[in-house]
Amino acid sequence: MTDAIRVKEEQPGVLSRILRSDLFYSFRRSPITVISAAVTLVLILAALFAPWIAPHDPFDPASLDIMNSLLPPQWTADGQAGFLLGTDDQGRDVLSTILYGMRISLAVGFASVVLAMALGVTLGLIAGYVGGITDTIIMRVADVQLTFPAILTALLIDGVARALAGPQAYEEIVVFVLVLSIGLSFWVQYARTVRGSVLVEANKEYVLAARLIGLRSSTIMFRHVLPNVVGPVLVIATINLALAIITEATLSFLGVGVPPTQPSLGTLIRIGNDYLFSGEWWVTIFPGITLAILALAVNLLGDWLRDALNPKLR
């Protein structure tokens, strides 16, 4: 059978091939995973389409009315129609701020995971493939960083950026600083995993063959070795997405993340926390629940993916 014919045969069956795969089977067999995937998808879509589905635009000062500030949820006695989950101190609709806030949380989460992955995978590949002193230096740095919790590293990078940029400029670049500080705190796990897999792969015959025909090291690393170590990287990335979202929320809650003018979920919880004692619980509890559901759903997905891709557990 020639290649051309085989491609033709499989082309229409991509969907059915996915549906018949082992991975999809294990996915379908786990109701919790299906539910978490659905929840994750709904939340991501809701964040993506926030401008269209949010009942109000919380960042349009013209639409805000200070008379509407701190209204309780709609179903309570003092609730007002149109504000399903109540309003915050500036009269912003809580449901709308959550939808918009989730955009920032997810964007920072995804971006920092991509950064950590790119950095970690590249360094891991180089460390494993080149070896020698390069390997030693990279892995030593990783070891030192691993002794500190990620949140501390992120706080420190944030503090340095704050000092270097000055208060005004800092406000403008804060999202990038967050991505950078979270991304730089999480690269170690990727580097270690990839390095370990590369050390195994590098001795296999296909790498030797690729070397024999004179391919450049970078080509072998990224085109031949990388695809074979991608499974564990995906698992780490999924679990790290939940961690990154939580870290961003934590930094914002601590007051070193995104400012109240463009709030993420963490900032919303921080704002609402001030009103907890005066009885306005909805300002902080609803963003909190959203964050918890998002993190839990992504975590469950990551757990499933880890078990599904690990042949030892089957």
Binding site: D158, G159, T250, F253, F277
Partner: protein, 326 residues
């Protein structure tokens, strides 16, 4: 054993020097120390004089040497924001953080260990599944959210426990303040300690469960059953004993994490500890405090790692033969 200890010690000193270098670079090159110390009306001559007096014109390696020398004597300079020696500030906050961290570690161990043993022995019961589901929620819920929820339930709604501060403290020996001896101090400690310890508790529980499941499958347990020993003797005398090595290690290593994570808990509960001091320093770009905190945490981590490494070798003879290894 001695060679191993010395090798580990050299590594630890190396790590500390690297961290000291980072903290020095932070201190020296992020922001200008002179500008932070003087007012606007200082003349350029006075600035130059101060620069000379502070030794900022010396070669960088001389300055680094001086920095390390001073740090070894707990001299971290003067806070830009609060205008007091950093060492005094940290010393006044240290007891609060250490007390909170220790109580949470004890809580995590006392609750996590039995839960882990139970779920390991009876993995299929409803209660075990409930514990596991709870532990997953515990991992997914951010620390600060747990704190807020606890405050909402136990302080705002039920009014049982205070939501911020340390309550009344007693001074012991002139420098150590403790809240463990007063009623309000103890009740103030409960919520922060649970918040901080919850994550470690789930971690210990999952670890003990995993180890128990592993150990219960081994041949010597089967043999013990064949000998007709009581379940109690097998479960606790044989199985649990062998799961304790990794548990001790991880718990030891987690003490460092607890101290670092107390930043979050201290913020939620306005607990007057080191973490809150560090966070305010980050917000105000108070570099001397940041540098000192970084060094202190690194020191604690290194010391804990060192002790755990030695304990590990002392407890597990296999590592002694294997050499440095892990």
């Amino acid at each position: 054993m001695l060679a191993f200890a010395i090798r580990r010690l050299i590594q630890a000193v190396g790590v500390m020097l690297v961290v000291a270098l980072i903290s020095f670079l932070l201190f020296r090159f992020v922001g200008d120390p002179v500008n932070q110390l003087v007012g606007v009306d200082t003349t350029p001559e006075q600035r130059a004089q101060l620069r000379q007096d502070l030794g900022l014109n010396d070669p960088v390696y001389v300055q680094f040497g001086r920095f390390v020398g001073k740090a070894a004597r707990f001299d971290f300079g003067i806070s830009y924001q609060i205008k007091r020696p950093v060492a005094d500030l940290i010393a006044s906050r240290l007891p609060a953080t250490l007390e909170l961290s220790l109580v949470s570690a004890v809580f995590a161990l006392l609750v996590g260990l039995p839960m882990g043993v139970y779920t390991g022995l009876y993995p299929q019961t409803l209660l075990s599944r409930l514990f596991l589901a709870l532990s997953l929620t515990g991992i997914s819920l951010p620390t600060f959210l747990i704190g807020i929820l606890l405050i909402f339930i136990f302080s705002v709604n039920l009014g049982w426990l205070p939501s911020f501060g340390r309550g009344d403290v007693v001074t012991i020996g002139g420098f150590w303040t403790t809240g463990l001896l007063t009623r309000s101090g103890l009740s103030s400690l409960i919520l922060p300690a649970i918040t901080l310890g919850l994550f470690q508790m789930t971690l210990i529980m999952r670890l003990v469960r995993g180890e128990m499941l592993e150990v219960l499958r081994t041949d010597y347990i089967k043999f013990a059953r064949a000998r007709g020993l009581s379940s109690r003797a097998i479960n606790f005398g044989h199985a649990l004993k062998n799961t304790l090595v990794p548990v001790i290690t991880i718990t030891g290593l987690q003490i460092g994490s607890i101290i670092a994570f107390s930043i979050i808990t201290e913020t939620v509960f306005q607990w007057p500890g080191m973490g809150l001091l560090f966070l305010q320093a980050v917000q105000n770009v108070d570099i001397p405090i940041m540098a000192a905190y970084l060094l202190l945490i690194a020191f604690l981590f290194t010391v804990i790692n060192f002790i755990v490494d030695l304990l590990y070798v002392a407890v597990d003879p296999r590592i002694r033969i294997g050499g440095a290894g892990a």
